[in-house]
C-alpha cells in the first residue's frame, strides 16, 4: 500500500471513530445574534449531560437571519430544536411545515422564552446630539440607524418600540403614534437587511447618530469595538422582546432525540443556563440570577408584544404588505 493510501485510510478511519464515539448529536437552528450565547451555553450543558447520563453529546449550531432559519426548517433542515427571536418564526414552522405541534409555547415556562431582551438606543461617545428618549429621534438633525422591518425581527421590534412608546405618551392615540413613528423612520438614512448589518453601518461606517437595537447586541458591540466608543441610552419605556425556543416534534421523534432535546431546552431555565444568559446580557427569568446581575440590567418600564395582541397580530397590522409600515414608507418617500 502506498503511503498516500495509508494516509487516506487513516484519516477516514479516524473520521469513522469520531462518529461512533459521538453517541448523540443535536442540531440547534438559531439566529445570528445568538451565536455568542450558545457558544457559551453548549459546553455548560454538555458537561451537565455527560455527567448525568455518561453519554457523549455533540451539539451542532446553525445561525442566520431568524426567518431565513425558520424557512430552512420548513424546507426540511433537520433541526432538533429551534431558538428564534420572534414567535412568528416558530408559528410559521407550525403552520407551513407542520414539523412543530401547535401549543409549543405552553410546553415551557414563560411562554417558552427562557430570557428576553429589549430595545435600547446606542449613541456616539459623549452623546453629542443629547439623545435621552424616543422623542429625540424625530429631531430634524438626528439620523437613526435601524434594520429593515420588512426583513429583520430586530427592525420590527424597533418599529413596535417606537410606536408603543408614542402610544403611551399620547394616551393611546393611534393617529399620534403613527405620526411619531413616521417621523422616526423619516430620519432613517438607510435600511440594512439585518441587525448585524445595522451595527456595522453604525459602528464601522460611522453612519448616523443613534442605533436602535437589542440590549444584548449592545454588549456585543462593547466586546467588538470597545466600551469607550459609544453609550447605551435606556429610554423611559421600551419593548420587551421574548426570545422563544421550541422542540421540533417531527424531527426529534424521527431521530429519537426528544429526551435529550427537551433537556437541552429545559436546562436554559436552570440557574446555570440563566447565569450564562445574564453574562451575555440576556435578561434572565430566574429571580436569584436576575438579582445577582441587577446592576447590568437597569429597570425601566417595559411593555410586551401582547400590547399589540401578540406578534402574529402585530405582523398583520404593521408589517404585512400594504400594512401600516408600508403606508408610512410610501408617505416618507413622497415627501422626499
Amino acid at each position: 500500500m502506498s503511503k498516500f493510501k495509508k494516509i487516506v485510510l487513516a484519516i477516514s478511519l479516524s473520521g469513522f471513530s469520531a462518529l461512533s464515539w459521538a453517541d448523540t448529536t443535536l442540531l440547534n437552528v438559531s439566529y445570528d445574534v445568538m451565536r455568542d450565547f450558545y457558544k457559551d451555553y453548549n459546553p455548560v450543558f454538555q458537561k451537565y449531560y455527560e455527567a448525568k447520563y455518561k453519554d457523549k453529546l455533540t451539539i451542532q449550531q446553525s445561525h442566520g437571519g431568524s426567518s431565513k432559519q425558520a424557512r430552512s426548517v420548513i424546507d426540511g433542515l433537520e433541526a432538533d430544536v429551534v431558538t428564534m427571536n420572534q414567535s412568528t418564526d416558530i408559528d410559521a414552522i407550525v403552520e407551513k411545515g407542520r414539523q412543530i405541534n401547535p401549543g409549543w409555547e405552553k410546553k415551557y415556562a414563560d411562554e417558552a422564552a427562557p430570557f428576553s431582551s429589549m430595545q435600547v438606543l446606542i449613541v456616539r461617545k459623549g452623546n453629542p446630539k443629547g439623545i435621552k428618549d424616543w422623542a429625540d429621534l424625530i429631531k430634524p438633525n438626528v439620523q437613526v440607524v435601524v434594520p429593515n422591518p420588512k426583513t429583520s425581527g430586530n427592525g420590527r421590534y424597533t418599529f413596535l418600540a417606537a410606536w408603543g412608546a408614542a402610544l403611551k405618551q399620547n394616551g393611546g392615540n393611534e393617529a399620534k403614534a403613527r405620526d411619531f413613528t413616521r417621523a422616526v423612520f423619516a430620519n432613517v438614512p438607510l435600511l440594512d437587511a439585518g441587525g448585524r448589518a445595522a451595527t456595522t453601518t453604525f459602528m464601522q461606517r460611522q453612519m448616523g447618530d443613534v442605533l436602535v437595537t437589542f440590549e444584548n447586541e449592545a454588549e456585543m458591540i462593547a466586546r467588538e469595538f470597545g466600551r469607550g466608543n459609544f453609550e447605551v441610552i435606556y429610554p423611559s419605556v421600551s419593548i420587551d422582546a421574548d426570545l422563544p425556543v421550541a422542540l421540533v416534534d417531527k424531527v426529534v421523534d424521527k431521530r429519537g432525540t426528544r429526551k435529550v432535546a427537551d433537556e437541552y431546552l429545559r436546562y436554559l431555565w436552570s440557574p446555570e443556563g440563566q447565569e450564562v444568559a445574564a453574562q451575555n446580557y440576556l435578561r434572565p427569568r430566574n429571580a436569584a440570577v436576575a438579582a445577582k446581575y441587577a446592576k447590568q440590567f437597569p429597570a425601566i418600564k417595559l411593555f410586551g408584544v401582547a400590547e399589540f395582541g401578540g406578534m402574529k397580530a402585530a405582523q398583520k397590522k404593521f408589517f404585512d404588505d400594504g400594512a401600516i409600515y408600508d403606508q408610512i414608507s410610501a408617505e416618507i418617500a413622497k415627501k422626499r
Binding site: G65, K68, K150, L191, A193, R205, A330, I332, A333
Partner: protein
C-alpha cells in the same frame, strides 16, 4: 445541422439527447416549478402583487441600474479588451487575470468592500462626500456594484474577437486612404459588434438578478433604492411564497423578453452586414 446528417464525429444523437436532458433538469425544471407555483394565484391577485407601487418602483431601480451598468461596461469593457489585445506592457498578464476577479469573488464580499470604500467615512467616500457626491447608500451605489459585478462579460466576449481580427484588414483600409475614425467605424466596429452586443446582454442579464453585492451598498430605501430581488426576499421573510414567486416570474418574463429582443437585434445586425 440537419437532423440526420452524417458527421465526422459520431454520437450526435447521444450528445443532443444528453444536452436536452441536462438543460431540462438544470434550467427548465426549476423555472417550470417557479411558474407552476405562481399558478396558485388567480390573475387578479397576481396582478395586484406585481403592480404594487413599491414593487413597480423596484423594477425601475433594478432594470434602470442594470441598463446603466451594462452601458458603462459596454464602453469600459471594450476599452479594457482593446488595451489588453493591442498593446503589450509590463504586468499585462496580471491585469488580464484581474478582469476575472469579479467572477470569482463572492458578491457579498464585493458589496461589503465597495460599501466600506464608498461610505461617507470610507477611503474614497470621504473625499467624494466633501465634494457633495454620495455613492454608497444611494442608487449610484447600486450602479457601482452592478458595474463591478458585470465587468468581465464585455471584456471576455470582445477580447477573442479582437484577437482574431486580422491586422491586414486595417492596413488595407489605411492604404486605401481611410482615416483612423473611418477604420474604427467601418472595419473594426462591425466585426466586434455582435460580440459587444453579446457581452452587453450577458452583463445586463446578470445585473438584473444580482442581490448579494447590491444589498450592502444600496441603502434599501423604499421607492428609492430597493431592488426587485429585495422585494422577493422580503416576501419570503413573510413566508409569502406565492407573492415571491409572482415577482420572480415577472422578472423572468421581462428578462427573457429583453434577451430575445437583444438576440434578435444581434441576428439582424449580423445578417444585415453580409
Amino acid at each position: 445541422m440537419k437532423w440526420k446528417q452524417s458527421s465526422v464525429l459520431p454520437g450526435f444523437n447521444l450528445a443532443l439527447g444528453y444536452s436536452v436532458l441536462y438543460l431540462s433538469l438544470i434550467v427548465l425544471l426549476p423555472l417550470a416549478a417557479l411558474i407552476s407555483k405562481s399558478m396558485g394565484l388567480d390573475w387578479a391577485s397576481f396582478w395586484a402583487i406585481v403592480t404594487e407601487p413599491r414593487v413597480v418602483a423596484s423594477y425601475k431601480v433594478t432594470f434602470g441600474a442594470s441598463l446603466i451598468a451594462a452601458l458603462i461596461n459596454l464602453f469600459v469593457g471594450l476599452l479594457i479588451a482593446w488595451v489588453l489585445v493591442r498593446y503589450s506592457f509590463p504586468g499585462k498578464r496580471f491585469i488580464d487575470a484581474l478582469v476575472d476577479l469579479p467572477f470569482a469573488l463572492p458578491t457579498a464580499v464585493a458589496g461589503i468592500a465597495l460599501a466600506t470604500l464608498y461610505a461617507p467615512n470610507g477611503l474614497l467616500g470621504a473625499p467624494l462626500d466633501q465634494l457633495g457626491i454620495k455613492i454608497a447608500f444611494t442608487p449610484a451605489g447600486i450602479v457601482l456594484a452592478l458595474t463591478f459585478i458585470t465587468l468581465p462579460f464585455v471584456v471576455r466576449t470582445v477580447q477573442p474577437v479582437l484577437e482574431d481580427m486580422e491586422k491586414e484588414l486595417e492596413e488595407a483600409a489605411s492604404s486605401l486612404g481611410a482615416t483612423r475614425w473611418q477604420i474604427f467605424c467601418k472595419v473594426i466596429l462591425p466585426t466586434i459588434f455582435p460580440a459587444l452586443l453579446t457581452g452587453f446582454t450577458l452583463a445586463f442579464a446578470r445585473a438584473i438578478g444580482e442581490f448579494g453585492s447590491v444589498i450592502f451598498i444600496a441603502g434599501n430605501m423604499p421607492f428609492k433604492s430597493e431592488i426587485t430581488p429585495l422585494m422577493i426576499i422580503s416576501k419570503l421573510e413573510q413566508y409569502d411564497y406565492l407573492g415571491a414567486t409572482a415577482i420572480a416570474v415577472v422578472m423572468l418574463v421581462v428578462s427573457f423578453a429583453l434577451l430575445l429582443l437583444i438576440n434578435g437585434l444581434q441576428w439582424w445586425v449580423t445578417r444585415h452586414r453580409r
